[in-house]
Point group: C2
Chain length 250, copies 2
């Protein structure tokens, strides 16, 4: 782990990346580089597209509303993190932005908003979620931008569940159990982590979740936590036992 | 763990709490209850002072700028969390507020800002930190408000170190090791967790830290993390292995 280093510019682009490739930036990106950062011709910028690793590129054309980079050399091979779906009841506005950023830093593969009984927002702005996920990946050097799922009701999510994927459910009614003991019983394979809304799951939802053979309940101690805190805490424990912090993961 | 329930009002007060005690609220608290929430006479409010547990109290006098509660019954015994000092390089403004809130939710005993080579703010607003810590404790039902230390240089902090306290140092240069293996080697006792600035520790700081017999280096995986994310992640792993999430802690 490295704590965020703010010094290098890193941009997500859609185009394929290879030595000599030219990349036309979006209008926003061009504005940011040319007008905000006042980058000069030849300036080095890191680029990634979620597939081809990270590359150093040089600014070879800079106008007010458009800019072109030429890709010069690969700086990092593509690395994908562990196969973790992050399922969560969406929060409002700034707290949702924050939670999305945190989940990206924790290396999840997919962000799947879930409608529960006590979920307050009944729709989510998927474009905004995607923009936030890209920004977090740019800032934190993550090379895989998580996929973003549509908001779905919890019942539908469970109906279509692939039983090979273990669903780790952060259970606020389960304060006494050692979370590491719960996680060490999980068999290797794809994982999902589910964090409920502020206000918790309903009794019925908890019962349904706990009845599923693929569900593991996870306790996060005796204190009340905000949902975005629970997200980072749960993903840290999962990464340390089953994900790519454990040294066991390939 | 319970995910934050926003329904009950909970106020931190200075006065001693016991059945029948009367508590005069501060002007801000009176304004909030009377003018913002429009609480009526007899309304129930939870109060705590960091020492006497949590009590239900009733509003018995409500003016524009003052209000008095009468304490009726204890709702929770005082619980202190584990003996964890949280040492951190302060961040700017909103990110520092956020980090303080998160550390309170994670149940630390003390918040100790540390000046490192690459720390950007060279002073911190301790009053603001304390107000944030109280607000987080109020909102998240934490009964112990962490003590707030003065900003001190890392070298001074280490010079005066009590060697019985293990210092868990989040080491961004140590990405390959399993963090749980590092923590299971820690002997039971008082703990401190140190998270560096965005930009990391200097090479010299890392060397000095790693040379101390009471220091344990902790890796938080291969990705770059923001300092506030690293704080929650490290404290989750520490709570799960050595703190009060583990079921071993008394």
């Amino acid at each position: 782990m490295a704590i965020h280093d703010l010094t290098s510019e890193r941009l997500f682009v859609d185009s394929a990346l290879a030595q000599g490739a030219r990349v036309a930036l979006s209008e926003d990106q061009a504005h940011y580089l040319v007008n905000v950062l006042r980058s000069k011709m030849g300036a080095g910028i890191l680029v990634f597209n979620g597939r081809d690793g990270e590359w150093l590129a040089r600014l070879i054309e800079a106008k007010k509303r458009s800019a072109v980079l030429e890709v010069t050399e690969q700086t990092r091979q593509q690395v994908n993190g562990p196969d973790i779906d992050y399922l969560f009841a969406p929060l409002k506005h700034a707290r949702l932005d924050y939670m999305v950023q945190k989940a990206v830093e924790m290396g999840v593969a997919r962000l799947s908003p879930v409608q529960t009984r006590r979920t307050v927002p009944d729709r989510v702005n998927l474009e905004r979620m995607r923009a936030n996920a890209i920004e977090a990946a740019e800032q934190c050097g993550v090379l895989r931008v998580p996929e973003i799922g549509e908001l779905r009701p919890l019942s539908k999510v469970l109906d279509g569940w692939d039983v090979k994927r273990t669903l780790i459910f952060c259970d606020e009614g389960d304060g006494a159990k050692n979370p590491l003991n719960s996680l060490t019983s999980v068999r290797p394979g794809p994982i999902a982590v589910l964090v409920g809304p502020e206000g918790g799951f309903s009794g019925e939802e908890r019962e349904i979740l706990r009845s599923k053979p693929y569900v593991v309940a996870l306790s996060l101690g005796p204190r009340i936590m905000r949902a975005d805190t629970a997200a980072v805490a749960a993903l840290a424990l999962v990464n340390a036992t089953l994900g790519d912090w454990s040294g066991n993961w390939k």
